[in-house]
């Protein structure tokens, strides 16, 4: 019986450790994303049918943007030394930055076109405003802290 409990305890510890590593990286982002979803749902008055079609698309758009941004951050992040030694390094950085903006723009464009097919255009505009308002809320939170 002692062995049995030892085994359970060590299993739990191991799982907690692996789980903790995963959980740490994304918990803040998850909270902010959940907050944004709640904020947008409150600001844009979706019908049930619109809710069912809109949120899967909106989540997919954000997942795609997330991949593009994280890929950029793999190469350029807070630990990067931006005092480039060679011109080539600087050019590579500028190209990567432009590529990021380009992909962001293309993704937004693609999905806003899709949103227009399932939502009245006024609601698409309200969505855009809600996203902007959410940013301001975030900035306010940072200032308060």
């Amino acid at each position: 019986m002692k062995l049995y409990f030892k085994y359970i305890f060590s299993t739990l510890l191991m799982i907690l450790f692996i789980n903790g590593v995963y959980a740490q990286s994304d918990s803040k982002k998850d909270k902010i994303d959940a907050l944004r979803a709640t904020f947008i749902a409150k600001k844009v008055n979706f019908t049930t049918q619109e809710t069912q079609l809109f949120w899967p698309l909106y989540n997919e758009m954000n997942d795609k943007l997330d991949v593009v941004r994280k890929t950029f951050r793999l190469q350029y992040n807070t630990t990067t030394n931006f005092n480039f030694i060679t011109d080539k390094e600087a050019e590579t950085y500028l190209a990567a930055e432009l590529n990021l903006k380009q992909k962001e723009f293309e993704t937004y464009k693609e999905y806003y076109e899709k949103f227009r097919k399932i939502l009245p255009v006024k609601k698409v505009a309200a969505l855009r405003r809600a996203e902007e308002d959410f940013k301001r809320e975030i900035i306010k939170t940072i200032k308060e802290n």
């Binding site: 062995l3 085994y7 359970i8 299993t11 739990l12 191991m14 799982i15 907690l16 692996i18 789980n19 995963y22 959980a23 994304d26 918990s27 803040k28 982002k29 998850d30 909270k31 902010i32 994303d33 959940a34 907050l35 944004r36 979803a37 709640t38 904020f39 749902a41 049930t48 809710t51 069912q52 079609l53 949120w55 899967p56 698309l57 909106y58 989540n59 997919e60 954000n62 997942d63 795609k64 943007l65 997330d66 991949v67 941004r69 994280k70 890929t71 793999l74 190469q75 590579t92 899709k114 097919k117 399932i118 959410f134 940013k135 301001r136 975030i138 900035i139 939170t141 940072i142 802290n145």
Partner: protein
């Protein structure tokens, strides 16, 4: 000892599967500028869970020779299980404005029931199942769920008691809106201590991430009330039980017509209690539950007779057990990155089905820790945390 080795092998294979042997991969080069982040493939996390369940000791009455021999009854049950998404396929309509999806998961578990009758030797009844489940969400209001859960059960130490069984569930879920969903289907289950086939009927009223009432026959009834962001309390009633094969070492079944060295043992407890789920993150939740076993029964079924019946077994001994208390505790761990599902009603329902229909016919509810809670104020101390949200001009 064999079980211990089995658990270790399961655990190590899980870690390898999860890390994709990255520790042995030497191809990682930090200077590789072509490195890209892989998008998440699945909507469901890899999940493992541990559940422990214990009832109090009940004295059996002395009205028959078997009850006199058994004296008292008490059980405890340990369950270790996992489910892994294997295939996820998003399917789009012509103009890509509707996403329906198909999910295929492997669901497996191992359970050990310690059967303690005061008058005879202790029996440890194990059950091991490896099943699969498919979920199809049509992107509008319908979800189809199918699970096949074959399992093998035996009385530990008596290999001749090994018995193969199959439980299965087929469900149709209609999510009318975020406040109401309806389920109908079929389930072949041993939960009620015998081999039964039931229609499955369920309704849910109230949002899954807020206060809701869920009635799912024959799986149970739950009234869920969230308390704050991370805690959920529930009042519930549900059956818990199973059908096992026990070695007839104590000659519990005797007589002219019985000459088998094993018999089937069926048990169920109808649990009514209070449960508290703590969900600090979508990667981890645990629950603690206690209450009363309002209706319990144990039955012994002779195997030769059983072979002649096509459906439910005929018992030779059946005893209703007096009320007692029970305690149930569980830990659920989720791994891996998943696609976002914020406010996605259909996926909330799909996750709920996957969490509440337990593999191996154990009726363990893992809790909906992976359904996002409505967002509340977040403390942000570092602008790096919201770098993707804010442009320089936003600060003017």
């Amino acid at each position: 000892m064999k079980q211990f080795q089995l658990h270790i092998i399961l655990l190590i294979s899980f870690v390898f599967f999860n890390t994709k042997l990255s520790a042995f991969n030497n191809n990682n080069n930090n200077n590789d500028t072509t490195k890209t982040v892989k998008p998440p493939r699945h909507y469901f996390n890899k999940t493992i869970y541990i559940d422990y369940y214990l009832t109090g000791k009940t004295k059996l009455d002395t009205t028959g020779p078997v009850s006199i021999k058994l004296k008292s009854y008490q059980i405890n049950q340990f369950v270790f299980g996992y489910n892994f998404p294997i295939i996820t396929k998003d399917i789009y309509n012509k103009d890509s404005t509707k996403i329906s999806n198909f999910h295929f998961l492997i669901a497996s578990n191992y359970s050990k029931l310690s059967l303690n009758f005061g008058g005879i030797s202790k029996h440890e009844l194990t059950k091991f199942s490896v099943g699969c489940r498919g979920i199809y969400n049509n992107g509008k209001k319908s979800i189809f769920f199918a699970e096949l859960s074959p399992f093998v059960t035996k009385d530990n130490g008596y290999s001749y008691t090994r018995t193969y069984r199959l439980s299965c569930t087929f469900l149709y879920n209609y999510a009318a809106n975020e406040y109401f969903s309806f389920r109908a289907g079929y389930t072949r289950s041993f939960l009620w201590g015998n081999r039964f086939q039931f229609p499955y009927i369920g309704i849910r009223v109230g949002k899954l991430d807020k206060t809701n009432l869920s009635v799912q026959f024959p799986r149970g009834m739950t009234f869920n009330v969230p308390v704050g962001q991370y805690v959920q309390t529930s009042i519930y009633t549900k059956p818990q039980g199973g059908l096992y094969t026990v070695a007839n070492t104590d000659s519990l079944l005797n007589g002219n017509n019985y000459n088998d060295n094993k018999f089937y043992f069926g048990r169920y407890e109808f649990l009514s209690g209070l449960r508290i789920d703590v969900m600090p993150s979508k990667f981890f939740n645990f629950y603690l539950s206690t209450g009363i076993t309002t209706k319990s029964n144990i039955s012994f079924y002779p195997t030769p007779k059983a072979k002649k019946t096509g459906n439910a077994y005929n018992d030779s001994y059946s005893k209703n057990i007096k009320r007692n208390i029970f305690v149930n505790v569980g830990f659920v761990f989720r791994f891996g990155k998943t696609k976002s599902i914020y406010n996605n009603i259909q996926m909330y329902d799909a996750l709920d089905i996957n969490n509440t229909v337990s593999p191996g016919d154990n009726n363990i509810n893992k809790g909906n820790g992976n359904i996002p809670r409505p967002g509340t104020k977040v403390k942000i101390n570092n602008t790096d945390e919201v770098l993707d949200l804010i442009e320089t001009q936003d600060l003017y």
